[in-house]
Symmetry: D2
Amino acid sequence: MIRFNCDYSEGAHPLILEKLAQTNLEQLPGYGLDPYSLQAAELIKQQCQTPQAAVHLLSGGTQTNLTVLAALLRPYQSVISADSGHINVHETGAIETTGHRVVTAPNSEGKITATQIDRLCQAHWQDDNPEFAPQPKVVYLSFPTELGTLYSKQELLDIRRACDENNLYLFIDGARLGYGLTAPGNDLTLPQLARCCDAFYIGGTKLGTLLGEAVVIVNPKLQKDFRYFMKQRGALLAKGRILGIQFLTLFTDNLYLQLAEHANNMAALVRQACRQAGFDFLCDSPTNQQFPIVPNTLLKKLEQQYVFSHIEPVGKDKTAIRICTSWATRKEDVEQLAADLQRLSGK
Amino acid sequence: MIRFNCDYSEGAHPLILEKLAQTNLEQLPGYGLDPYSLQAAELIKQQCQTPQAAVHLLSGGTQTNLTVLAALLRPYQSVISADSGHINVHETGAIETTGHRVVTAPNSEGKITATQIDRLCQAHWQDDNPEFAPQPKVVYLSFPTELGTLYSKQELLDIRRACDENNLYLFIDGARLGYGLTAPGNDLTLPQLARCCDAFYIGGTKLGTLLGEAVVIVNPKLQKDFRYFMKQRGALLAKGRILGIQFLTLFTDNLYLQLAEHANNMAALVRQACRQAGFDFLCDSPTNQQFPIVPNTLLKKLEQQYVFSHIEPVGKDKTAIRICTSWATRKEDVEQLAADLQRLSGK
Amino acid sequence: MIRFNCDYSEGAHPLILEKLAQTNLEQLPGYGLDPYSLQAAELIKQQCQTPQAAVHLLSGGTQTNLTVLAALLRPYQSVISADSGHINVHETGAIETTGHRVVTAPNSEGKITATQIDRLCQAHWQDDNPEFAPQPKVVYLSFPTELGTLYSKQELLDIRRACDENNLYLFIDGARLGYGLTAPGNDLTLPQLARCCDAFYIGGTKLGTLLGEAVVIVNPKLQKDFRYFMKQRGALLAKGRILGIQFLTLFTDNLYLQLAEHANNMAALVRQACRQAGFDFLCDSPTNQQFPIVPNTLLKKLEQQYVFSHIEPVGKDKTAIRICTSWATRKEDVEQLAADLQRLSGK
Amino acid sequence: MIRFNCDYSEGAHPLILEKLAQTNLEQLPGYGLDPYSLQAAELIKQQCQTPQAAVHLLSGGTQTNLTVLAALLRPYQSVISADSGHINVHETGAIETTGHRVVTAPNSEGKITATQIDRLCQAHWQDDNPEFAPQPKVVYLSFPTELGTLYSKQELLDIRRACDENNLYLFIDGARLGYGLTAPGNDLTLPQLARCCDAFYIGGTKLGTLLGEAVVIVNPKLQKDFRYFMKQRGALLAKGRILGIQFLTLFTDNLYLQLAEHANNMAALVRQACRQAGFDFLCDSPTNQQFPIVPNTLLKKLEQQYVFSHIEPVGKDKTAIRICTSWATRKEDVEQLAADLQRLSGK
């Protein structure tokens, strides 16, 4: 079976394993204070062009989201998210467990708009008793979104404006950040994105590391005591080195973006093959996740050899699936999938 | 100004004040262990025909909802509610602060259905990874709803069936319970409602007491250690007697239902007057809350003499308002309102 | 049976009931925005000489402690308390439920010292990894303490100094504040105490109201959005008037301090009688709680007619008990107790 | 500099890195459902002789403690721990953040006794109002303790008896479990320890893995829905394989115990050298942590070449330090330390 169901089916990029092995017997301080973690943080700040930022390395996406939001919100404040946002659909209510409501806005291809944010805030503040509802304080976006789509530069600037006008922080979940930055049509650079945010993170787990997400707290007012939050939530690894070494490797010689670009290229081949097979798509994604709508009979045959994620039934006869590529996707596997699609669809 | 904006504009029914004064200098045990509280609990169990129930007296609705749900849910479980439910719109995220997600279903005139509950549960359990979302465990209803409407006996039995099939508890917010039980067209008795629930409460604050809600935990499995939950949430009054005395008074000689019936009768007069004035209604409520849609020009004139709650704009020129009656509403005030409506509407 | 076990055995002072009855049918806004609540707040600010303070009325002590501490602490911060502090021994872990550790220091007659606070803070900040322990941020004191004792002006100023030097807030639990302010030997006035604190509260439940505690947030930086905290914790009563009316009555014509003084006088008679009976005391309390150590044989006889609280066994043959007086204690009851003590002790 | 300050200064045992590299490009399911994780769980159950247990792999100690305790405790329940317990001194109040109080008992060489547990429970249940304090429900022990000491079989059986009689669960923190099982004088086997517990964990981070702790939930009643707890706390790694592969390696061919034994042997050499240097010890530890009390002048010289942890000053002139060995400690480094100790102490 060839797995196209997600972007974390393999271990780590070989250079990362190599670097872990090379440094393995070095004796280093724990808890993220080793030189590799510090260098990784420096490198990330440089590449983000945010010298005043604070960078912390955590293990996974849910942990990162709950820890950052715990630090950004007071107990009575809420976070605004697309209804399709990861914190709303795939984290077992981790944010609510932290005490906060996720206020959702209906997504359009995975995205929300500045106007939606404005309206939610107006509804809150114009109520006779604003204090009877959680106070919106953070906007949570994903770049790329759960549906693989991207905010344009203008859309992000509009959202930043909405945040400023409504006294909100902007926090971007970049679990798949690299796939977005290297996607065809993307008009945002890493420094531009960083400048727009109060905090964001650069995902490793879904882009070539064994584990790890690099949080960049851009807004200096939000940096204080963040290590307390990490420790308290079980997010401060004793051997922080393993995160530092991985991110140092990713951010050396542009590896991070190269891996992402490879995945996007593989996804483009998948997209093309799906189009040729006559499939519609749930949405128009330029990144490593593709969401074709596949006839069930054909899907059944494909699934004898490939693993996909099922997203939702479309009508009686079709299913929207997710086909994911990654840094590790082999071109021959994609070509085989394309050939099978052509053969099975008769197109 | 005459206040029709809510059902808690006055203090308590005079019989309650009288009884508080009569007993004032009696020396009694604290924390709900006084004879009045115990008698009130017994009386409530009798009138609910639930001899095995546990009854506890708390202060207000939000406190009651958060304390009961803290006791009914494990940390990863969620409560299903109408999107219009009090816990979703008027409690500052108290349930989320307690660590739980409120999973909402779109309301129809304030109500949700057994089918909606079934679907939410199916969606949860049919997911490849149910553990990636909070597990639904409680259904929260209001009787009457926030829009003054009522579940019929059949609707409630259907929801009970959905709860049984999906392994859910049923918890009914009865902040205005009496208004529902005495409403024209209601086909549910207090014992029938009690038998349907795992837990519910009988509201005092909005029905004639200074404060107080009587929680009835019908399901014996949920009764253990509830006083710990109360104390921990600040819900165990030192002078519990003041709750006991009030509920004892309300449940003696049928006072509770008489007060509710009076309010419903007053609301019927309001409804009639609104109809004669040609107003539409946001929904068809047989209870003490009426939701007429009033032309803004007329509303402005009315509001020189009356206080209402604004619910939402309807089109450009009208506003849905809430007109509330209560145990304390004077017939002459309603008649004056009716006369003013007739005069101002010219109908 | 005559109850001396606590100071909340009766209802409310008759003037309070009278005022509740007088105003009962007035239609007033809810949620603490009625004129009585606003006047009570003004009066309290005047008498505290803290014009810039914010005053909020809540229901009970545990509710007040958890709500105020939720507002004063970030998630990783802790509160320092005497091990005998109410938040540590009588609130079912309400503070921990709110997410915070109570860091305890051993009490001396119910009190802690500036030096103890300094040491706890030094221990925290001198650790190699301060972020591995909760960060101390609030000092919680009771005035009077759980043992009825008082901080002197100098002790309180020293603690204020410790708070300033260690960047801590000072929060005083005044559930029995009046008993302290009117105690013989007390050298603190209400304005002096208020000026020392970041926040404190004036207890009503244990000093003559049906329920209610008046929180005074002295530090303007801590006042923002406090009503959100109240609502979220179920601490915002719909009929806030009943708190407003009660505190307005207490703070008119000096009633609050008069009631306290009466209780202290009654306690002085108790103390004298206990001394004459030859009892030692657990501590030297000048306020309404007395802690005599009573031979068990004698205690058994007394308890045929009186109710006391048992505190702890002292040796094999004696028990430290609490004898409480209150605004409602009748002189004839105290005299009867004194006579019985004399008779039974043979002294 | 040679680091003896902790047991997590290096990466992972080379066999683990090798196995990670070998399997790196295999495509596997995520979230702990890969065959390596499942095999590791099976192997652990076999070696514990607990076929009915559930095994889950988490990242680190704090995460494991907070997740397990969240699953074992209801919101009003507390955990009993030695005051020196990791959850009390090194986790930033993670347990309190989860809503629970840590009730501490004074440790004796890092340990608590069945009698202390009995007394705490009696104090709770004999109170007039048990519900005014958190209800004790779990006993948390460490094996070995924070001071490197061990519970004997009899001590553990006594504690199990106390747990049974007081209706408590027993949870053992085995962050350094292997060091205990292989220590000279230890009389407990892994199956015996497992049988005594309701839940415990086998630490990897401090015993040769990059990260990872294997939780063994022995009591079937506590196993339900544990993956919800993990996911909600950010403790379910997408690439769960990296934990599975590591624990599979550790539990194959007895590697885990061999590594521990090596560390204990190295620690024995350290202990001997310290004794020869004339040092006293804070406690008598047979495991990989040694706590000699070292003259400050000598310590200063040693610290030009070695890194230790400082525990506490002893008198004016000495300091209790921690010297840790691990699977990775090189015999030549220990011999050099011994030689330096001899030289510097002149003994």
